[in-house]
Symmetry: C2
Subunit: 321 residues, 2 copies
């Protein structure tokens, strides 16, 4: 894999298994530190092969316990696992509501597990992009399995799970109103449904309901979502869950559409980066360049509308070429 | 207000009070129909003065009943009210989970009320942008008060509520886990907190807790959020809620920062429109233009990373000028 022999020191340390270097690189990504760019550029050639499992679902279904059970299962089989937990947090203060709890303790002892929680500060697109970069760092550091856990059930989760290769939607019996939200936001992104807390009454009914829904819906890319029942307490069903994930991975990697899908994702990433740069440059120019500031003045006094103003900006850009 | 004497026919009908023309224009906005552009351009000069009240909060706090009670209160005082309800829906199918229920019946009888529900399909930014356009249409149609109700508590709500002039965050006693989410996502955007279902036990405690939190936090633009207790069933507290909203509106319109804030919002809107157009053009070019398609090929085979690819695209654009 050494297509780019000379790695920057920070990237070299990360690849060599230095967990502090990995942690520092992740922090740099989270902080939007420009130093992260050089590392990510250098490591890109070493990414794109990992199994990235997204676990989404509303609060209270026991996702964290399930992730812990899954990590235990994978570690017992010698697989190293990177875990990214994206926490709900204020878009204004960036504070993380859930802490890292007991999980950090384990990762300190076992170099085969690396756990990191990220606050979902910033825009939806920003969080999804930072998550994608952190997954790349974990993969370059040698974790061929990455679990991404999100807390919530909204469009943030949907955006984040676009970076996963297999998406598990976790639910639990008797969710009440949350099921509505779950169906609305997350139903279509599931490759595997997991009815957790299988020890509670109603688990069988929930599994049956989901199986029926999965059978009715249009299968994504020809894949019919699988439904498994788990209990992180017992624990039970963890092997079945991993088997379902591996079945989807096998299906996905054999799919004739795989390369085209990867091309679409990377094209979207390039477009996003160019778009954000153009937006940042224009935002600066609207204050600095007199002709643009005057245009904005006219919109503020409502003698020009924002749509026409945008068209004038685009026309001026095209003329300058 | 006739700064632009010749309105297109559709815009003229909407301004003259034709509710079918209003409904058609809103549908055109929702569908991304290019015809909506001409109407919105023509009507922009007639917007920007309305009181736009955003009502956000998790499922189960009784937002819809509260909105109904507020509409009754305002109608009894002769104010016309436009209501936009943004429903949680699938980002894939665009289907709306909640229906328009009994509310459409009332709007059919009373031309002083116009209710419209919108599905939150598309990106977060897209929903917020469509909501802003629908508010403009309602204002141009003569509704000087617009209520925007969102169902949920995530970043979609936060984005939508950026278009409101006064933001009401609705909560209820004994919300459990949802309070965590509420605090995380919506706390900072509240100008007014409303503890609904005041008839339930715990309402007083919830009000006290929120008042303490509001007193601790940094007030936004110097405004200290007000806390009111309501019951949409009794009904009680509705007048107090409206008084709090009017107090914030008076504060806001007297604020020395008002014009600067409006300028920032409109600048952001222009940037967004230019950015989206640049992104759409580039996405097309990545498939069509051979030099860009080759760049993408190199990224797919991982001999070039997406960051460097984006920089090359930006450099090529700058050279062509």
């Amino acid at each position: 894999m050494n297509r780019r022999p000379r790695l920057p020191a920070a990237a070299q340390a990360l690849v060599s298994g230095d967990r502090r270097a990995l942690a520092r690189a992740i922090t740099a990504v989270e902080d939007g530190d420009p130093g992260a760019d050089a590392v990510l550029k250098a490591l890109f050639a070493r990414t794109g092969q990992a199994t990235v499992v997204g676990l989404a679902g509303p609060l209270g279904v026991g996702k964290s316990s399930l992730v812990n059970a899954l990590v235990g299962y994978l570690r017992a089989r010698g697989r190293s696992v990177g875990i990214v937990a994206v926490d709900p947090s204020s878009p204004f203060t960036g504070g993380s509501v859930l802490g890292d709890r007991i999980r950090l303790e384990r990762s300190a002892d076992d170099t085969g597990v690396f756990f990191r929680s990220m606050a979902s500060r910033g825009s939806v697109g920003g969080v999804a992009s930072a998550t994608r970069d952190v997954i790349r760092l974990l993969e370059a550091a040698g974790f061929s399995t990455v679990l991404v856990e999100t807390v919530g059930s909204g469009q943030v989760d949907v955006a984040i799970h676009e970076v996963a290769t297999t998406r598990v939607v976790v639910t639990a019996p008797h969710l009440g109103d949350e099921v509505q939200t779950l169906k609305a936001g997350l139903f279509e992104i599931a490759d595997v449904f997991c009815v957790n807390k299988a020890d509670l009454p109603g688990a069988e009914v929930a599994e049956k309901d989901l199986s029926e829904l999965a059978a009715l819906g249009t299968a994504r890319d020809g894949w019919r979502p699988m439904v498994v029942r788990t209990s992180a307490i017992a624990p039970s069903g963890i092997e079945e869950l991993w088997t379902a994930i591996e079945a989807h991975e096998a299906y996905r990697t054999a799919s004739p559409d795989r390369l085209a899908a990867e091309r679409r994702r990377l094209a979207a990433e390039i477009v996003e980066r160019v778009r954000d740069r153009v937006a940042a440059d224009l935002a600066r120019s609207l204050d600095g360049e007199p002709s643009l500031a005057q245009l904005l003045d006219r919109v503020v006094e409502r003698s020009l509308d924002p749509r026409t103003a945008a068209e004038l900006v685009l026309a001026a850009r095209a003329r300058r070429r």
